[in-house]
Amino acid sequence: MSDSAKQPNSDLTNLNNDYATKYGFRDPVDYFHKGAKGINHEVVEMISKLKKEPRWMTDRRHEALDMFFSKPIPQWGNTALLNEIDFQNIYYFVKPVKEMSKDWDDVPEYIKKTFDRLGIPEAEKKFLGGVSAQYESEVVYHSMRDDLKKQGVIFLSMDGGLHEQEEVVRKYFGTVVPPADNKFAALNTAVWSGGSFIYVPPGLDVKIPLQAYFRINVENMGQFERTLIIADKGSRVHYIEGCTAPIYSTESLHAAVVEVIALEGAYIRYTTIQNWARNIFNLVTKRASAYRNATVEWIDGNIGSRLSMKYPCIQLVGEGAKAEVLSVAFAGINQHQDAGAKVIHAAPNTSSRITSKSISKDNGRASYRGLVKIYKNAVNSKASVECDALLIGEEARSDTYPTMEIDNDQVKVEHEARVSKVAEEQLFYLTSRGLTEDEARLLIVNGFMEPFTKELPMEYAVELNRLIELEMEGTVG
């Protein structure tokens, strides 16, 4: 292909500028509390004290820190990269403003500017039920529509939840993801800050999605948000988090914990699109418990980061419970997306479906790592796993590590895995209609992701497509 007849693709060019201003900017670092680098019991004590937490939470943090110290780095996954993390070279707590703002007018100007660029107020006008935007380690802006509040939906920052709903938090915190689960869950429990707390009362159908935006803005700062969602009996809720991160020069750690509880007959969908800066380690523990006839769905899109290790899990603990995990991972140059899903069938008549799609480009690597466990008592259960990998370029890599542990024979289990390349013939077909090779490749990739994208609210789908467009720029082969 020559350049002569190539249309100047203004969208792409603008998008690039857009990206630089929209995601690449950083505000001057002038923070209210910025502790020292490194982690020890003193730091944990300080975090808890600054947040004026009840003693039981402080104690939990200290216990968790001991677990963090005693646990080794995981000996599976990309251990070479994991060993690069220098835990003593990270800030564990940054608090940018004195108090959490509930009113937009109270939010500092430079933070507003950031949000304006991220389009939050605009988005809010359209369809947001509540916004809880996390800026640094603390939620600085939080709003909720009056009608939601009247209905009894509690949507707070996790810190707010701890203060206003202490008993509920105490009852559920750490029950789905105990600190002993893994080294990063322990670290999160010790130093967590921010995240969302949601409680939906019995029988309530929350019609509009609840959303939170997350953002990291200090070099070498770890972000350890903690999210807890409880949907009471027969209620329904959709929570969405979209993450963008600026471009850094040094390593940054993100280790979140998300706990989701769907009580009898409840429905929870949790949608995430993460677009981390290319040097971020994104090590997240997301887990849900679904009780009798409850449904939990993880919709999980992973773009960016240096290394992501993320396996959203659903424990089907009640009869008739359902699980759905739909994930997309995009591994670009020098990136490793180690993503997957886990479903534990621990009750009869439970069903699950995992659909994992990955795209590897240049020397990017996407791994699917999954577990389906069906216990002996989980008779008449159904599980299906579908892994679909698309490779772009000769160096791109994809691996699949599916594990099935089936302890009874009255079950139906399906597993399918496919690896494909962008076919020359497809490219020719599309270019013969006037698309450049880049445009054709992008269209094929967007088509590949369509089963995922169509599950997203329109704004997110558009955003995701634009991010993929950026990632696809300059692809060869």
Binding site: E424, L430, T431, R433, L435, G447, E450
Partner: protein, 256 residues
Amino acid sequence: MTEKNPLLDFRDIHVEVEGKEVIRGVSLQVYSGQIHAIMGPNGSGKSSLSNALMGHPDYSIIKGEAYLDGQNMLKMSPDERSHAGLFLAFQYPLAIPGVTVANFLRTALKSHRGKDADMSDFRRIFLKQMNALSIDRSFATRYLNEGFSGGEKKKVEILQMAMLNPKIALLDETDSGLDIDALKIVSNEINRFHNDNNGILLVTHYQRLLNYVKPHHVHVMISGRLVKSGGPELALQLEEKGYDWIEKATRGKVEV
């Protein structure tokens, strides 16, 4: 007519596929307002010629010249040829999973116009064209060619042609896979598309499409060469006597 420059003009084209020469010196001029048909038995090189003209990377033109409306085509990539006004209706259109017919056509139109088509305009024209081809509206949101029958694929190729409105349309075995009703509908659309400012090059094994789309010129391709040219009557002779007749008649004149 000779005063005008041809829309499509190729001279002494040689095409190689995997090191084998499949087109061995073919020349043709298609002027605006003309319909040409290239007929030939299976394996004679008809599809290779269409693919090579569109710029398929596996079909390299090793010798010859080709011009599209006066521009040297051989230096152009397939997308550039498309922008310059060339269209190929594929014999075997490929499925593009996850890309809806509507989305695909909008993207293609955008690439031609350099800007996004107005949504309501696009919708109106798109629905009108689908209607003309008796394509059910549900196809707008179906994934391109995925699970389509042979006939549906061919109709959607013609739909694309109608939407992109090329100067030169190469129709590669468009009649294959069509039942008689679909053949009439598709022929109707081809005739409606055709005007004094464009040209069509049909490539076909059978004469039956030519009952509905009347060519001005018919050429016979055997073993990578055009061995005989004539008017529409030539197609009828072929139908009656078969390709053997031509092969016998031209033997001696042409190395086969």
